[in-house]
């Protein structure tokens, strides 16, 4: 039996990779994020590429290298929602850094470093913060290139390589390198596949969305959530090309700008949890009741599920009342947008969540003073106060007091209230710390110095007395 045991650790690893890459497509992510990094993407709009591969139309399919690569860009464009690749041609030549152009060139090296003989083409990508800013695709000039459909030949088909490298430019990685077995142009090896596969398209659309406005862009057209017998469901959607309506509230206190809506009517009372794990952008989430976009009553809202590690997916939990219709808004923090997953769970037979009846209140205190934040909740069995998203050690009561406030205490305070049904997070109370008053300025001395200001009344009085005395002496 022992001999037949495969390594559980490695098996667990393989399983983990499979779980994290439930879809075939994978992304090049923002490595600066500690929690769940999001794909590094281009801001909405256009990415202009300059193709400098050659304009002679003498390839097997009648194309030139330029037109074959251009066709690859157009293939991507037909599937992208809020980004388009625009193309222009230029004479053959090297890629130049610092010209802010995204270029497609043949070369034997990059920055003076030669291609490995096995490497056909590479994409170099510059990024700043969490956005892509520039990219070049460099094709190994030592290889023989052509343009054709169907099975691979000894010469390399530039169009399928361009499709693949443009996928990298957009932010896609190799699914086969992530342990997935799918048919995709983004797999790390060239195959007879010469066009985009559904997995490639799904991957790109989860970053840039499909074309068109989402059907549930407006409050009035909120998509209806119908729960299966298990009372849990996961829904997919996009908020790319969505908009914010006139009079629409800010969700999770962020202006957002690309909200989409769902609605659900509770068949019975019970706690509901909605989260946006699995979404490909920095989400915000709000739950409301009401009949008009201008007069909604807020039930729950959330920006980030966790501050440390930073999980930018949102999550809310609330007690649903039987027969009440709830409207769920999903927006992007600062109008971020991409593909989203809405996970919905309802527990009609479970205990109700605690209810916060009095939220902690923001405060302003002077450094050195004391401050207390309090919460009142019914049905709660536990409390945990947080400061800027992190748990405060030992702060597990209904009140959290800071006895001698310093500037370092300024920030956001919340309390997580729990019971057997789950947890509920309070509103944010902000602590503002003022510096202590400055000591009084020293009184001006009576003798000399100073000058430059208006004469004081005292000085004018002395002058007047001197003038009066002089006049009296003259009259004598």
């Amino acid at each position: 039996m022992k001999n037949k045991t495969t390594l559980p650790g490695i098996a667990a690893l393989a399983g983990l990779l499979a779980v994290l890459s439930a879809w075939g497509f994978t992304y090049i992510t923002d490595q600066r994020e500690s929690g769940t990094p999001l794909p590094l993407k281009w801001p909405p709009g256009t990415v202009a590429i300059q193709i400098k591969l050659g304009s002679t139309a003498n390839l097997s399919d009648g194309n030139s290298f330029n037109t074959s690569a251009q066709a690859a860009a157009q293939m991507w464009n037909t599937h992208l929602g809020n980004l388009q690749i625009t193309t222009s041609f230029a004479p053959e030549g090297p890629a130049a850094e610092g010209n802010n152009l995204n270029e497609l060139v043949f070369a034997s090296d990059i920055f003076g470093k030669a291609f490995d003989g096995n490497t056909v083409a590479v994409t170099t990508v510059w990024s700043r913060s969490n956005e892509r800013t520039r990219a070049d695709i460099v094709y190994n000039s030592a290889r023989t290139w052509d343009s054709y459909d169907g099975p691979t030949r000894s010469a390399i088909d530039i169009q399928r390589v361009t499709l693949h490298e443009l996928g990298h430019l957009l932010g896609l990685d190799h699914p086969d390198e992530a342990g997935q077995s799918v048919q995709a142009i983004m797999n790390s090896r060239i195959s007879s596949l010469d066009s985009l596969a559904s997995d490639d398209i799904s991957g790109a659309q989860n970053i840039y969305g499909p074309q068109g406005v989402p059907a549930n862009d407006n409050f009035a057209s909120a998509a209806i959530i119908t729960l299966p017998a298990a009372n849990t469901t996961s829904l997919s959607g996009f908020n790319t090309n969505a908009s914010k309506q006139t009079g629409e509230t800010n969700h999770a206190d962020n202006a957002g700008g690309r909200s989409v809506w769902w609605r659900w009517t509770a068949p019975a009372a019970g706690p509901v949890t909605i989260d946006l794990r699995g979404s490909y952008f920095d989400t915000t989430l709000g739950v409301y009741t009401g009949t008009s976009i201008n007069s909604l009553a807020a039930i729950a809202s959330n920006d980030d599920l966790s501050a440390s590690p930073h999980i930018q997916a949102s999550s809310v939990t609330f007690n649903a009342a039987a027969g009440t219709t709830y409207f769920i808004a999903v927006d992007g923090f600062d109008a971020d947008c991409a593909g989203l997953t809405l996970n919905f769970s309802f527990s009609p037979t479970g205990p109700l969540l605690p209810v916060i009846t009095a939220q902690p209140v923001s405060a302003t205190v002077t450094s050195g003073g004391s401050v207390s934040f309090s919460v009142t909740a019914t049905g709660a069995t536990g409390y945990q106060w947080t400061f800027n998203g992190g748990n405060i050690s030992g702060a597990t009561g209904t009140t959290h007091t800071i006895s001698s406030v310093t500037a370092a205490n300024a920030g956001s305070y919340r309390v997580v209230v729990t019971n057997a049904a789950g947890s509920l997070t309070s509103d944010t109370a902000t602590l503002t710390v003022n510096a202590p008053p400055a000591p009084p300025a020293p009184a001006p001395s009576s003798g000399g110095g100073g000058g430059g200001g208006a004469p004081s009344l005292w000085f004018l009085g002395v002058l007047s007395l001197l003038g009066l005395a002089r006049r009296m002496l003259r009259h004598r």
Partner: protein, 202 residues
């Protein structure tokens, strides 16, 4: 308890591997070609990885210098310390990435197939196909070899398989154990010896 430890080991390694960026269009060489194209094959641990701004022909770019501590020389006579000079890296908010370039973190242990020529874009043969991370099993301390996608290697011949293709060894025997680092290195040494006659034989 042991299962939990294995799981944690797997999770930790999985998370570390997720920080790699395997990509680009590269043709995977077979094991003999991989060895033949390498000036050095080593088992090494990353001592440091330092990104810096550089300039070439008036173009400013980010490069990374990776210093390796060699634990075992398998082929060639590498310099000590062995330094890999890579195009790409991150400085503050700015990052230059060549898709497909492996990322190195201090403490990573790998079997590396290295080009001695420093004018290469990446001094590893066939980019991600030239790096084989080593995973140490928590319970026994035994070291196993992974492919750059983080999945176990079952045979040295599997290096040329598509990343999503199951090993032929595993196909024939579902209970096959992953290749240990020692066995992988031994297979490389055998092939080096076959391919390159020793001085005495010459």
């Amino acid at each position: 308890m042991n299962a939990r430890r294995y799981l944690l080991t797997g999770l930790a390694l999985g998370l570390s591997l997720l920080t790699r960026l395997p990509a680009t269009t590269v043709e995977a060489p077979d094991i003999d070609s991989l060895i033949g194209q390498s000036d050095y094959v080593v088992r090494a641990v990353v001592k440091s990885a330092t990104a810096e701004w550089r300039e070439h022909a008036g173009q400013r770019y980010i490069g990374t210098r990776v210093e390796l501590e060699i634990r075992e020389v398998i082929k060639g006579a590498p310099p000590s310390p062995l330094v890999l000079d890579l195009v790409g890296g991150r400085i503050g908010e700015d990052e230059l990435a060549i898709q497909g370039m492996p990322r190195f973190q201090v403490g990573d242990e790998n079997v590396l197939f290295v080009h001695g020529e420093k004018r290469q874009m990446l001094p590893l043969v066939a980019m991600m196909h030239g790096v084989y991370p080593i995973l140490r099993e928590a319970r026994s301390g035994e070291a196993y070899v992974l492919r750059s996608n983080g999945l176990p290697l079952y045979s040295a011949q599997d290096v040329s398989l598509p990343m999503n293709r199951l090993s032929t060894v595993k196909q024939q025997n579902p209970y096959a154990r992953p290749l240990t680092a020692a066995a992988f290195i031994r297979q490389i040494r055998d092939r080096v010896a076959t391919a390159q006659p020793t001085t005495r034989e010459k």
